[in-house]
């Protein structure tokens, strides 16, 4: 279990972490998800002890590993924290054979030679690379190197494992299979894992819970459904690729909140408390259904239905994302065959529908977070 209490960190004048708090449960795999440069790696470095925070306390399994007790400063060395760390860049010792890389941590435990050998073999077996024991890192593929890096970090039997974008060192076409391999290893370990990534689908594949990070703090934490269905800020919604639009609560109708969005009325199942307030509404692209204006055979009472113009279409492997301007922009996702069936093209008029239940509404904090995403999450 990891507990991070109000940690701040600045490099020179630039504040990287501002009052960040986070709890990682015992033996869970938690993804730290956020755009590049949001402070994820800094947070891992602070957890590992390689970097010192300016303020705040870090506890690992209820032991204060870094911070202050009264006026007394505590900072346990990285090697004494029972923490394993797999770095983003391949950080194997290039001048040592695979087995010596893995044995490096074991040798600091002052074990007998036979024991070191036995445990090294066990670790190599764990990552299925025993036959590569005598190879040098430069003779391995990206994925093999990261597996060795994992085995090396496990040598000291850590209670917590930190991984910083471990997949980015693997060839793009092999990433997906490496991800699954890695997931199996992590699940077999049954230790607390903090997994840093900027890739949305990777976070979903790898972890039990996801902490979305932005602007030097944790924006939201939860499992996949919680985060996707109920983003707690427009920042999170935008990062997840979920539709988010601003409006004003204007009244209630049949238990639904009526929201005015740029003159367009939409209804959401939300509390009356939001009437008269500036709100943000989010809806997943998957919950938005697109159709031709002609085939309007749906029940308007259950659905929000608005008309607009298709302004953008992006094709992915098996799905397409269509953006419709209905007075505000709405993204919808549908299969390629549906796109074909509806023969949608840019500039066409279209009708989009989404249920009142699929809308997630919260009061607008008024804080505009202009974060430009360097890489769009997939």
């Amino acid at each position: 279990m990891i507990k991070i209490n109000s940690v701040t960190k600045s490099f020179k004048e630039k504040r990287v972490l501002g009052n960040l708090s986070l709890e990682v449960k015992e033996k869970e795999i938690l993804s730290l998800l956020g755009p590049n440069g949001c402070g994820k790696t800094t947070l891992l470095n602070i957890l590992s002890g390689l970097t010192r925070q300016d303020e705040g306390n870090i506890y690992i399994n209820d032991v204060l590993v870094s911070g202050k007790v009264g006026t007394k400063k505590v900072h346990i060395k990285p090697s004494d924290r029972k923490v394993g760390y797999v770095f983003q860049n391949i950080s194997l010792f290039p001048h040592m054979r695979v087995k010596d890389n893995v044995a490096y941590g074991l040798k600091s435990l002052h074990l007998p030679k036979q024991e070191v050998k036995k445990r090294t073999e066990k670790l190599l077996d764990f990552v299925d690379l025993r036959e590569y024991a005598k190879f040098y890192p430069s003779q391995l593929s990206g994925g093999q190197k990261q597996r060795i890096a994992l085995a090396r970090s496990l040598a000291t039997e850590p209670q917590v494992l930190l991984l910083d974008e471990p997949v980015s060192a693997v060839d793009p076409q092999l990433r997906e299979s490496f991800r699954l391999e890695l997931k199996n290893y992590l699940q077999a370990l049954k230790i607390t894992v903090v997994y840093v990534t900027h890739n949305l689908s990777e976070a979903f594949v790898m972890s039990d819970r996801i902490a979305v990070m932005g602007n030097g703090r944790i924006e939201q934490i939860g499992d996949r459904t919680e985060i996707f269905d109920k983003p707690s800020s427009s920042y999170v919604a935008k990062f997840l690729g979920v539709n988010a639009f601003k409006g004003k609560g204007v009244g209630t109708h049949a238990g639904l909140l009526e929201i005015d969005v740029n003159g367009v009325r939409v209804f959401a199942r939300a509390t009356d408390g939001l009437v008269g307030k500036e709100v943000v509404a989010t809806v997943k692209p998957d919950d938005v259904v697109i159709s031709r204006p002609a085939d309007e055979a749906f029940d308007r009472s259950l659905f929000n239905a608005v008309e607009g113009t298709i302004i953008e279409m992006t094709q992915m492997r098996s799905t397409a994302q269509v953006t419709v301007d209905v007075g505000f922009l709405l993204k919808t996702r549908l299969s390629l065959s549906e796109v074909k069936k509806l023969s949608l093209t840019i500039g066409d008029k279209a009708c989009v529908r989404f249920s009142a239940d699929s809308l997630n509404v919260f009061a607008d904090s008024g804080v505009e977070q202009n974060f430009i995403f360097k890489e769009s999450p997939k």
């Binding site: 390689l50 090697s79 760390y85 950080s91 010792f93 600091s108 003779q139 970090s153 040598a155 000291t156």
Partner: protein, 272 residues
């Protein structure tokens, strides 16, 4: 030489001019070297190698340059490590000052060493008390060579330490709490090429040191007369001996450069 991309006429002219410049420059560098080799007959080489004056100069040069390199390793490598891994106020100034001897005219270095270590210099009284007179001694040669040549090692080692992947060192820090173990098992092996090539450059520079040695240590055969100083003297008294020494120095310089280049190219794990 194949020039695949020379298409238009102007391109061809530019490339022709470029080749001419390269060729001229190459000739300019190679011609003086060739000129030296043309001065000696192969049959004369053996006799020269038994010339006592030559042997004496070679022995002195090897001893002083070797000692200067050893001193440089002891002083410059830890300094380079400190400079590469620590940040402190005034680092840039210290960094520049340490590199200064590289660009300082050797004559100025000689004068500076005189004012520092000669009997009437800054530390003169200290050496007087100990009964040492540095100028005119072999120690002075070593001091001059260390002063002029050690920054080459410092620079190279510093670059070696700086270019090391931080995450490799951090990985080691996660696995052991012994700084010494990390230094000797990770840092040093990963920077040893930079250190060796720096040491070789320092040694070659020390071997060729002329100005500072002449000014500070003097030109006494067998005591301070290193190979370059001997060449200077032989030029008038025994030109053939001068040529022989020059050829030896050219061969050493060539060997050092090739070794340094090879060291820079080699990568780990290519040996199977």
């Amino acid at each position: 030489m194949k020039l695949k991309f020379a298409k238009s006429l102007s391109d061809k002219i530019i490339i022709a001019i470029l080749i001419l410049i390269v060729f001229t420059y190459f000739l300019f560098v190679i011609l003086p070297i060739v000129a030296i080799f043309l001065r000696i007959e192969p049959s004369q080489v053996n006799a020269q190698l038994h010339n006592a004056a030559i042997i004496e100069a070679i022995k002195l040069s090897l001893f002083t340059a070797g000692t200067a390199t050893l001193i440089a390793v002891v002083l410059a490598v830890p300094t380079a490590y400190f400079m590469a891994t620590r940040n402190f106020h005034g680092k840039t100034i210290i960094d520049t000052l340490i590199d200064l001897p590289i660009v300082l005219p050797p004559a100025v270095a000689g004068v500076a060493l005189l004012y520092a270590f000669a009997p009437k210099g800054l530390l003169g009284p200290v050496f007087n008390k100990l009964g040492y007179v540095l100028p005119g001694s072999t120690i002075a040669v070593i001091i001059a060579e260390t002063f002029v040549a050690s920054p080459f090692l410092l620079r190279s080692a510093k670059t070696g330490f700086e270019n090391m992947d931080r995450d490799v060192i951090n990985s080691a820090k996660m696995l052991t709490d012994s700084r010494l173990r990390i230094f000797f098992t990770v840092t040093l092996p990963l920077s040893i090429r930079a250190i060796i090539s720096g040491a070789m450059m320092t040694w070659a520079r020390a071997l060729g040191e002329f100005g500072a040695t002449l000014m500070f240590a003097g030109n006494l055969p067998g005591v301070t007369q290193t190979m370059p100083l001997a060449i200077y003297v032989f030029l008038y008294s025994d030109p053939l001996a001068g040529v022989m020494l020059s050829i030896i120095l050219i061969a050493i310089a060539f060997a050092v450069l090739i070794t340094v280049k090879l060291l820079e190219q080699k990568r780990f794990g290519n040996k199977k």
